[in-house]
């Protein structure tokens, strides 16, 4: 297994109290596989990614427990220097907002080349040539002429390609992409996702795709982990989850997508609001919004029940949900 996250806990100390942003997340990704982590704002999906990458701001953040096994080594026990060697070379990250993730006062050529100078000890000239090659790989037109340009001189889609080039530079085994296309227009989003999938296939990388978009997930993912209030509530192969979700939250998300046969009628809407992380409801965090909630849901945190050999659901009543009793 390429990456295994086991019972990861991350908390933030704030003025108003301790926020448990990640509350026992367990998931895994194999080489060549795409895992989509689906969740809304505040679900803990980005914080999980930051903890795995080792780029969490501490303080205010603190890893409260768990393991992040990368090829069997627990990254959380490594020294910062050892982690830095892995970061970039073995695992890389693509961020949502390329404009703020790239250095505005460095040419893209220098930023791409820096990877080779720092990690591979290449000369500036050789690194420059590598940068051009990479820009070609991600299909930036006239790469040779544009290598000396600054990030602001590129369009949004082109900047995202540069981010991808940077992540790919050292041919890492794992890429974590945090909402890589959310800031892009649909036609450009399609270009970028296609490119990412193609390169992943070519290099056989593991990909963790963090997103809130059920359409993007259906397009590219092999497996899905749905997060709610810092926990993974459902984990399953992509086809299973769209066919029959085993958690009421997943079911609610899928049902609230506008569909042709529902035009002119009310959309199904999950009632209520996402939880305040300072006061997560006891028991199952989803119970105040759940159509299946009963007494046990208010007191007992549901463990990840095994639905089948490949899927789990953290719902006391997952069987009912699977039978379609939680929907609209």
């Amino acid at each position: 297994m390429l990456l295994e996250v086991r019972d990861l806990h991350v908390e933030f100390r704030t003025r108003d109290g301790v926020v448990h942003a990640v509350n026992g997340v367990t998931c895994e990704v194999d080489a060549g596989e795409t895992l989509a982590v689906l969740g809304e704002s505040g679900s803990g999906k980005s914080v999980t990614a930051q903890a795995v990458m080792g780029i969490l701001d501490t303080p205010p953040g603190r890893i409260g427990g768990g393991q992040v096994l990368f090829r069997g080594t627990d990254l959380l026990t490594l020294k910062e220097e050892e982690r830095r060697r892995i970061r970039g070379a073995e695992m890389a990250m693509i961020f949502q907002d390329a404009l703020s993730a790239l250095n505005p006062v460095m040419t893209v050529g220098d930023q791409l080349g820096e990877m080779f100078v720092v990690h591979r000890g290449m000369s500036r000239k050789a690194a420059r040539a590598k940068a051009v090659e990479l820009m070609d790989r991600v299909r930036i037109p006239a790469a040779g002429q544009r290598v000396g340009d600054y990030p602001h001189q590129f369009s949004g889609g082109m900047r995202q390609r540069i981010m991808i080039a940077m992540a790919l530079a050292l041919e890492p085994a794992l890429i974590i992409a945090d909402e890589p296309t959310t800031a892009l227009d649909v036609t450009v989003q399609a270009q970028v996702m296609d490119l990412l999938a193609e390169l992943q296939h070519e290099y056989g990388m593991g990909l963790v795709l963090i997103t809130h978009d059920l359409g993007v997930v259906a397009d590219v993912a092999d497996r899905i982990a749905v997060m709610y209030a810092g926990r993974i509530v459902e984990s399953a192969p992509v086809h299973d989850i769209y066919k029959a979700p085993a958690h009421p939250y997943t079911r609610g998300l899928l049902d609230s997508i506008p569909r042709l046969d529902r035009k002119g009628r009310e959309l199904y809407a999950i009632k209520g609001l996402p939880p305040n992380l300072l006061a997560v409801p006891p028991g199952c965090a989803f119970h105040p919004r759940c159509p299946l909630a009963r007494d046990v849901c208010r007191t007992d945190v549901p463990p990840p029940y095994e639905v089948s050999g490949t899927r789990t659901s953290a719902c006391h009543f997952w069987k009912e949900c699977l039978d379609g009793r939680a929907g609209s």
Partner: protein, 355 residues
């Protein structure tokens, strides 16, 4: 179509590009909106879709008179509101209200929710006498699904979805006829979007509103709209009923846009054919000659660089009575069916075949 409440013709907004400090001379223009025509019927919802920079938000701002058009007319009840000023303009503004995209920056953080929703009455005191305002504000809060007791709270005490409800309540305060909503749900979490869409549909029935609904999410636009216009680089390239646009698109840009939308159904992966457009949208300061889409179009021929295609029913469909016969600004308009967003057929047979 229902009787029109709003008629837009030849709407243009150019922002001049100047050079020099002392002797400023115009060296060009950003043609943000470059000739837009449409009508909005009473009680109707017109959806406008397009990618960033296509001018859809500028159109919204001109409809609400937040921006003066460079040319063209916006007729409300037969009167061109772009020529009005003073008292007459104020009266019109009452009837056309706006809901903004970002519920975090469009509410004044230092005003209570009650004051925010009641502020329109300060400008239009004739709508509600002073003594009646508190009651009206509480009523509005109730109408949009918030507790009337919240009137004394501040915007930061609310979630994104609740703030958008506040923005909607403010837009309704003056009992307008037309509401222009510019990306009203795109800043909200998926689970909350459906709530706000349902609210807007309910309010439309209750207050007999006409909506101009601007968004980039094609499946939401389809759900709420009666008619849909597709914009590209400052112009509407195709417009028609939701069925005409989504199931029978004839403009290549619409087809590419629809094909690019990720469908929330993993089984559709193999079946659908994506039309990947090359390159980026050209700059609105340097619009291609002839058809503005030709630089990214797979059908472009010589004629496309020379002649601007008009927004009309294309010649090949002129005698057609089917759904393909609708306005489409393309010299080589032809039907091409792509899996439209929102389609998950019960039998799993959503076809991608081109014909």
């Amino acid at each position: 179509m229902a009787e029109p409440v709003l008629e837009v013709s030849g709407l243009v907004k150019h922002y001049p590009l100047t050079r020099g400090v002392l002797f400023r001379k115009q060296v060009g223009a950003v043609r943000a909106v470059d000739g837009v025509d449409f009508t909005l019927g009473r009680g109707e919802t017109l959806g406008i879709v397009g990618e960033s920079g296509c001018g859809k938000s500028t159109v919204a701002r001109m409809l609400c008179n937040l921006e003066r058009p460079t040319a063209g007319a916006i007729r409300y009840r037969g009167e061109d509101i772009t020529r009005l000023s003073g008292r007459a303009l104020k009266a019109v503004r009452r009837n056309i209200q706006m809901v903004f995209q970002d519920p975090y920056t469009s509410l004044n953080p230092r005003m209570t929710v009650g004051d925010i929703i009641g502020e329109p009455y300060e400008i239009h005191p004739e709508v509600a006498p002073k003594g009646d305002r508190r009651r009206r504000v509480r009523e509005l809060l109730d109408v949009v699904g918030l507790d009337p007791e919240y009137a004394n709270r501040y915007p930061h005490q609310f979630s994104g979805g609740q703030r958008q409800r506040i923005g909607i309540a403010r837009a309704l305060a003056l009992r307008p006829e037309i509401v222009v909503a510019d990306e009203p749900v795109s800043a909200l979490d998926v689970s909350v979007q459906a709530q706000v869409i349902n609210l807007m549909e309910r309010l439309q029935d209750e207050f007999e509103l006409s909506y101009v609904f601007i968004a980039h999410d094609l499946s939401i636009v389809r759900h709420i709209s009666d008619r849909v216009g597709v914009m590209y680089l400052g112009r509407i390239v195709e417009i028609g009923t939701d069925e005409q646009i989504y199931d029978h698109p004839t403009h290549p840009y619409t087809q590419a846009l629809l094909s690019a939308v990720p469908v929330p159904d993993p089984d559709a992966r193999e079946r659908r054919e994506r039309i990947l457009l090359p390159g980026d949208v050209p700059s609105p300061a340097d619009i291609p000659s002839g058809c503005r889409f030709r630089t990214r179009c797979w059908k472009a021929r010589e004629r496309c660089a020379l002649e601007v295609p008009p927004l009309a029913v294309p010649a090949e469909f002129r005698h057609d009575t089917g759904p393909a016969a609708h306005d489409s600004a393309c010299h080589f308009a032809a039907e091409l069916r792509v899996v439209p967003p929102g389609e998950r057929d019960a039998d799993g047979e959503s076809s991608t075949s081109a014909y």
